[in-house]
Each structure stands twice: as C-alpha cells, then as structure tokens.
Subunit: 155 residues, 4 copies
C-alpha cells in the first residue's frame, strides 16, 4: 500500500474503507406498469455506480479513461438476483466491493439496498480493461490497480 | 400568496426565488456512438427535473401524486432546441421556470446549460394534471397551484 | 402433450419446434461512445424477447397478462455473459429455450447471436408468475404451462 | 427527378410514395406506472423511424453514415404534441414526411397513429448533416438529397 499512499485525493478510501457507496433515487422513468423498477434499469444504476466508483473512488473518470487514454472497462459477465421489487420514489443505497483483482480484469460485488437496509438487488460482475481501438484486453495500469485494491473485500 | 405562507417546508422558494435548479451528470449510458448525449436521454433529464421540482420545490412527490392521490402530470406538448452537444462526464445545470399557470395546465421553460453557462438545451413544455383512473384533466389543487406560482417568471 | 393439442392458435410451435426466435436490430440508441451495445440495453432486448414469446409463442400477451388477468412475470434472477460486442446496424438472432418449468417459475436460456452465428450474449434467467395486487407467487396456469413445455429443451 | 432515376435500389419510393411508414409495438419497457408510454420513449421511436428511413428509404444506414462516411444527422430541433396516450401492447403506425430540404438541413414531420388511425404523437423536427470529427454542418450529399426529395410533402 506504500504505492497508494503516494496517490493524491482518494486516500480517504484506502485500507479500512472498502465499500464504495452512493444513493440512487428510483425515478418515474425507471418504473414499469406494475409500479416497480423495470429490471434493465437496475443495470443502468449498476453501471452508474461503476462510473462513479471510477471517477470518485479511483480518480479516473470514464471520460478520462475513454477519451484521453483510449481505454474502456466493459462488463463481460454479470450475475444478478432481484430479491425484492423497488418502488417509485424510494432512495436505494448502492454499494460496491472488489472481489478479485486479475491482470486485466476486476470482479465486483454490487448490492442495492432499500430504505430498510434489506437487499433489493445483488450482482456479481466482471469487468475487463480494454484497449478501445485494438479491441484487446490490457493490463490494468498499476496506479489504478492499487486504488482498486483499497476496495477489496474478504466477503 | 397569503395561502402559500401557511404551507410548510417550501416557503424558502416563494417569491424571489423563481428558478428551480438541479445538476445533471452526463452519464456513459446517455451518450451515443458520436460521444454526445443521445437526444431522447435529454427528455429523461427534463422529466427528472420536473420530478425533482414537484418533490423538492412543490412538496408533492410523484409517488404521493400517483400512488396516494391518483393524479398524474403528463407532458402534452414539448418544443425543444438542442443548441450545442453535451459530452460524457459534463455536469449540466438544469433550470425550470413557470411560464403560465392555467386551470389544469402549467407551462414551463426548461434550460440545460453547460459548465461554461452556455445553453445546451432549451425546452418549453405544457403539463396537464390528470385524474389517472378517469383519464380526464382536473384542476390543479389550490395548495399546489400556489406553490407553482412561486416559480412564475416574467421571462 | 395431449392437453396442448387442444389449445388453439399456437400448435405450430408444439413439440419439435422448441426454440422461440426473433431478430433484433442494433439501434443507434443502443450503442455507447465506444460504438458497441451499452449492456443494459441487452436486457431490454431480452425482455422484449420474453414479451414476444408470451404473445406469439404462448398466446398470452403482456397486456392480457397484466391488464386483464392481474398477473406479472417478473425476472428474479439473470446470469449473463457478454461474449463479443455487437455493433451499430447489426441484426442479431435472439433465441429462447425453456430450461426448467417449476410450479410458479420458469427457467429460460436466451442467446443473442451475431450475423455470423457466433454468440454475442448468453443468459439464463428465472421468471416467476406473480399476482400483481397481492404481490405473491402463483402457480402458472395449466394452459400456459402446457404451452411453455413445448419450448422445453434438453440443452 | 431525372437524377433520382439514376440512383439504384430505392426507386420504388420515388415520386408518388412520399410517406415513409413503419410499425412500432408499445413494449412493456416503454410504459410508465400509469400504464402508458413514458414520453422520452416516444423520442426513441422517432429516432428509430429516422434511422429506418435513412437505411430503407434513402439507402444509407446510420452505420454507413457514421462509420464509413464520418457523417452524422443529429436532431437540432423537435416540437412535439402528445395528443392521446398509448398503451402497452398497441401497435402504432409511424409515418415520416419531408417538409423542407435545406443545404445542410432537412425538416421532417412525424406522426405516430394508434390502431384506430387517430393521432397519438405529432412532431416536426429539423436534422442537420454534420461532419463528426470537425463538428460542423456540411451540405447533404446530392445523391442523398435527391432521395430525400422523393419524400417531400405538400402538407
């Protein structure tokens, strides 16, 4: 973690704080005729969470990643359980943990919880760092990898 | 406005503060292959702005409106200019003003501005209060109307 | 299968034809700044496939199910692999098979293939029949179950 | 129209056939908690109509336009009336006419009609041909312009 200590701005998340969390409001446009979240919309919430994690938790926004560095971080696998429906107007807690850090890939656990703290959605996903033009997997840059490691979780 | 003075919680917006404003982040999922916002997504931003205005500016969330009161506030007309494209990662300023307050309808002006303060999107829209089950227009409740009036703008 | 023979209109799919298939065009609005399908959009394609299967393959549209019968068929689990990216303008082959038919639930395998016949997306999902108002699982009606069985696959 | 006669493949649309039409199914994911189309979704239908018009009516797909020619056709203005709500499962008729053909721009009228032939949505929109990299308007290529002219409408 010595390396990480040299990185600016995100050290508050290092070490002990291993969960990246945000809040998500269930919008009118997220809900279906049954009045609950239309499940493809949950994946936009998950992608937004990953986007926020990169920008705020890892210090590299999708904009920087895609436009300046020519890299992408596509999701190649996602397994998802929709435990309980979510309703219009609810504010969900979204949490992200790193399960496994590979050479070019990172496995994440995501949880969306209701106002009562109970599970709404649980997902495990695998992202792979890609060189966008060459369309091949590339090793996650060391500085980014070190920051990701701070969100590693035993669970 | 005497009536409005009796309403709780939202009087900070009454009178002088006639613009309801929020911020909107341009997400990866909002952008098209040209790297700019896919225009149907702007309308979700506009709808989210109206939703936030109802909940935070008028004190009646879409949830309360739809589920408890059986009312809806559908958009029946919207004229929109896309002045300049918006890019991934930009934070837009979203502003809402009341242009005209009818019996069952309210006309709004919405503006999305870039980080430089310049226009990105300008829209004028008309919403109509509807009884959801009977599918007919109904007069906007007086308390709600009074709160809407606080956002009326000369412009 | 004697029971199924008595059902009207869908017998062309009975028995030997165990794959429900449609085609999906990759739209401009489905693609992200990297020019490939934004993965939450794949889940809309999957949901549309299930919707078409119910209407055309099983003879009970979502409209009939939701509005006339008060039933829903929410997805409670979906495991998905994004094998190869899909690009703007491609026409994908979407295929659905029944993996397992429970009391209130049905497990499906979905495959989206590219113009070359290779996998783009593979998903296995579990749907549960719900009584919408009471929000509880209910047994899949026998007629519907018999029709679902025609799409059962050994694979 | 002599010029147009020389263009391959799309002459069936030339002259008399001045309306480009497709059909759109109202999907579960298009509908909101009130059971009707969530209006931002209508704009995806409009964009899909324009996309189909380019590919099938004009003989230049968005894929060819964007990826091979480096051109885009963004919508810069759209005025829309939502006349009557559309419901889950309805099949809408989508129609497109050319109102005005400028140097770099084309003005279109779009109509979505219900199964009864009545208006659901009416929109007039302006598209501008852009050079994607240079982000500036460019003259619509003559061959494309000639094909567009075949959809010009007096109305």
């Amino acid at each position: 973690m010595a390396k990480q200590a040299a990185l600016p701005d995100v050290d508050a998340h290092a070490g002990e704080n291993r969960v990246f969390a945000t809040q998500v409001c269930v919008r009118f446009g997220d809900c279906d005729p049954a009045g609950i979240v239309f499940y493809p919309r949950y994946f936009e919430m998950v992608n937004n969470l990953v986007e926020d994690w990169c920008a705020q938790g890892l210090g590299m926004s999708f904009r920087e990643m895609h436009l300046e560095r020519g890299l992408g971080l596509p999701t190649v696998q996602i397994d998802t359980s929709f435990v309980t429906p979510s309703e219009l107007g609810e504010v969900l807690q979204a949490e992200l943990r790193v399960l496994k850090l590979g050479g070019a890939s990172v496995a994440l656990a995501v949880r969306l919880a209701g106002p009562d703290g109970e599970d709404r959605v649980r997902a495990s996903l695998v992202l792979v760092m890609m060189h966008l033009k060459e369309r091949r997997a590339v090793r996650i840059p060391d500085a980014l990898r070190a920051r990701m490691a701070a969100f590693a979780s035993a669970e």
